[in-house]
């Protein structure tokens, strides 16, 4: 019995959906194995920036301070009064080895123990999206600190959007290297989401920076699509002056 040659399928041009899938595959950055991505050992772009932002001798509370790399630099170079808060035991031990003061505590349980406006800066570096109650912690940040420094991965980046749109799966990238079930990032949000929160809560953006193609620059209007990561300095808006 004569068989029909089966070459027809492969010879045909790629179906549009396959083409898009292939495109998405190529766009996708290499999958990384699990590591302490929220606190890599090397210096992060935010660290240098924060070091430039924080004035000499200021007081800094670093929420989710990891091994204390940032505070260590700030204490050494800027002579700040630095205090860390961290939950992970291994990271806490690293802080002790670096001689960085650290309180082992769960941020989700609140910052009750800290007094109002008792720090010049409160830092939430790549931590917000890992919290169970991110908005509550943001509120506490601006109660305890005069200014907050928040950095986060922007889930609105075009590559993330494309990946989700085309593959229909949670994106995995260099900045978000986890699968849906093993990620510490439980509250992902976009730059627009954050700006909405700020507007609704009368929080003023003092300055903002974006990481675009591995380099950082001041935030621009289109950055909801372009920023891989964002760092903002925020403060509470002064209440409007009321007539007596």
């Amino acid at each position: 019995m004569k068989k029909t040659p089966r070459t027809t399928r492969t010879a045909r041009p790629m179906a549009p959906e396959k083409l898009l899938a292939e495109l998405a595959r190529r766009l996708r950055l290499p999958r990384r194995r699990r590591r302490a991505v929220n606190r890599p050992a090397q210096l992060r772009w935010q660290d240098r920036l924060i070091e430039a932002i924080v004035p000499h001798g200021a007081s800094v509370l670093d929420l989710g301070c990891g091994g204390g790399e940032l505070l260590h630099r700030l204490i050494e170079h800027k002579h700040v009064r630095g205090q860390g808060v961290e939950l992970d035991p291994a990271a806490v031990n690293q802080c002790v080895a670096r001689d960085v003061p650290v309180v082992q505590a769960d941020l989700d349980e609140g910052l009750r123990g800290f007094a109002d406006q008792s720090f010049d800066y409160v830092v939430l570096e790549e931590t917000l999206q890992t919290l169970h109650r991110p908005v509550a912690v943001l509120g506490e940040m601006l109660r305890v600190g005069r200014r907050g420094i928040v950095s986060f991965p922007n889930f609105g980046h075009w590559r993330v959007r494309l990946d989700l749109a085309v593959r229909g799966r949670m994106p995995i990238s260099d900045r978000l290297p986890y699968r849906w079930h093993d990620t510490p990032n439980i509250h992902l949000f976009t730059l627009r989401d954050f700006l909405d929160w700020a507007r609704q809560n009368r929080v003023r953006i003092v300055e903002a920076h974006a990481l675009v193609d591995g380099a950082h620059r001041p935030l621009q209007p289109q950055d909801d699509l372009h920023a891989e990561e964002v760092l903002v300095v925020v403060e509470k808006q002064k209440p409007p002056r009321t007539a007596r």
Partner: protein
């Protein structure tokens, strides 16, 4: 002389669970206690409660060498039933009748010694027996020069503050102006804390293990029951039992009960469970049936052989009265913390219910509210309050790193 903090060789906690023998390179070897008279009958030591006492003799031990700059001194402060014999093997255990020391090295030998967490190659380690105790420092069992008989309960009440001021006097005598660090656990942790408050400029680093700025109502209650057992022992006779029969039953009961507070439910379950002692079936009697009963009996008996009942009363009383907020902040802990200038590390243990983690953390937060920086670590452990002595791995790492204290 080389700066004592210049190098930080990697630290490995003890691998074997056995005591280091005196000839081990990790042991300080055989030790001999020192004695010093820090107050006399003519110039007595003034106590917080108003009374005075003299003469005051203090027994202390030291290990390692004091640097020429005198900048490497580490003071260790002991807990309720502790003594100055922190590490190594007592050379005079037989001569002084402290036979319990023949079987074991000092109470913190796992942590103190050459190459250990508190490295005696680098630090000059000092520990003194507290006033009112029964290990060579003046206490209720010492002879009152006015009567020629032991003080008994005519011994004045002493406080944690008195102990620390006496330790400062010892340092004066040794020519040490400033300590690199003070550390201790439990009641020792409270003394370490008192150092930071009473002498904020005499100590660089304070490490408080398993201790809080004051004992809880539950802790006060346990101490009260312990003292009740002692004072109602028919042999107690108002504390004037020396030379006759001792209030052994009362003291043993106090110790047995205290021992329960040092363990956790989990560790007791693990260690003893409901196992019967040397039998498969219960005898339906009031003898020792369960393993846990046998263990507590043993602890009680062993304690009676080495401790004085009056000292137990005085030391638990000092523990009761200690209250940082009352003493230094007119009732406000944050206000008290404003005095502190030393770097401070507080370590709690997850299953400790005598000095619970939540209360240790409360103190750390009071430091933050006072505008100070602080390190607070909660070590996960099943061993209850005893963990500060048992968890030598994590505690050793923390001590080693914190003592070194150089930013890297």
């Amino acid at each position: 002389m080389k700066d004592a903090t210049a190098s930080n060789p990697p630290f490995r906690p003890r691998s074997s669970g056995k005591d280091d023998p005196p000839d081990s390179p990790r042991s300080v070897g055989y030790t001999t206690a020192h004695h010093i008279t820090l107050a006399t009958e003519k110039e007595p030591f003034a106590l917080e409660a108003g009374a005075t006492i003299g003469p005051v003799e203090v027994e202390y031990e030291t290990y390692g060498n004091l640097s020429a700059a005198k900048d490497n001194a580490v003071l260790i402060v002991h807990a309720l039933s502790g003594d100055a014999h922190v590490a190594g093997w007592d050379k005079e255990a037989r001569a002084t009748g402290r036979l319990y020391r023949l079987k074991h090295p000092g109470w913190w030998d796992t942590v103190v010694g050459p190459g250990k967490a508190i490295d005696t190659n680098r630090w000059f380690v000092i520990c003194a027996n507290v006033l009112g105790s029964c290990y060579g420092t003046t206490g209720p069992s010492s002879i009152n020069p006015a009567t020629g008989r032991p003080y008994g309960m005519s011994f004045p009440l002493v406080t944690v503050g008195d102990w620390v001021r006496l330790q400062a006097r010892l340092l004066d005598a040794l020519g040490i102006e400033r300590l690199h660090a003070v550390t201790g656990g439990s009641l020792g942790g409270q003394q370490a804390l008192e150092w930071a408050l009473a002498f904020p400029h005499r100590v660089d680093r304070v490490i408080v293990l398993a201790a809080t700025p004051r004992l809880s109502a539950q802790g006060l209650a346990f101490n009260a029951v312990g003292r009740h057992a002692i004072m109602n022992d028919p042999n107690f006779r108002g504390g004037d039992y020396y030379g006759g029969q001792q209030p052994d039953v009362g003291l043993a009961v106090a110790r047995m009960m205290a021992h329960i507070t040092y363990l956790s439910d989990e560790s007791m379950h693990e260690k003893f469970g409901r196992r019967l002692r040397g039998k498969d079936r219960p005898e339906f009697s009031f003898g020792v049936e369960f393993e846990v009963e046998s263990y507590l009996n043993y602890q009680g008996r062993a304690f009676v052989e080495r401790f004085d009942a009056n000292s137990y009363l005085y030391i638990t009383r000092a523990m009761d009265y200690y209250d940082v907020a009352e003493q230094w902040g007119s009732g406000d802990l944050v206000e008290a913390c404003r005095r502190i200038e030393s770097k401070m590390m507080v370590v709690s243990f997850s299953s400790d219910w005598l000095y619970p983690p939540a209360q240790c953390r409360e103190f750390a937060m009071a430091m933050c509210r006072a505008g100070k920086t602080v390190t607070y670590v909660d070590v996960p452990s099943r061993y209850g309050h005893d963990a500060f002595l048992v968890e030598t791995g994590p505690v050793g790492h923390l001590l080693h790193n914190y003592l070194h204290g150089r930013r890297r």
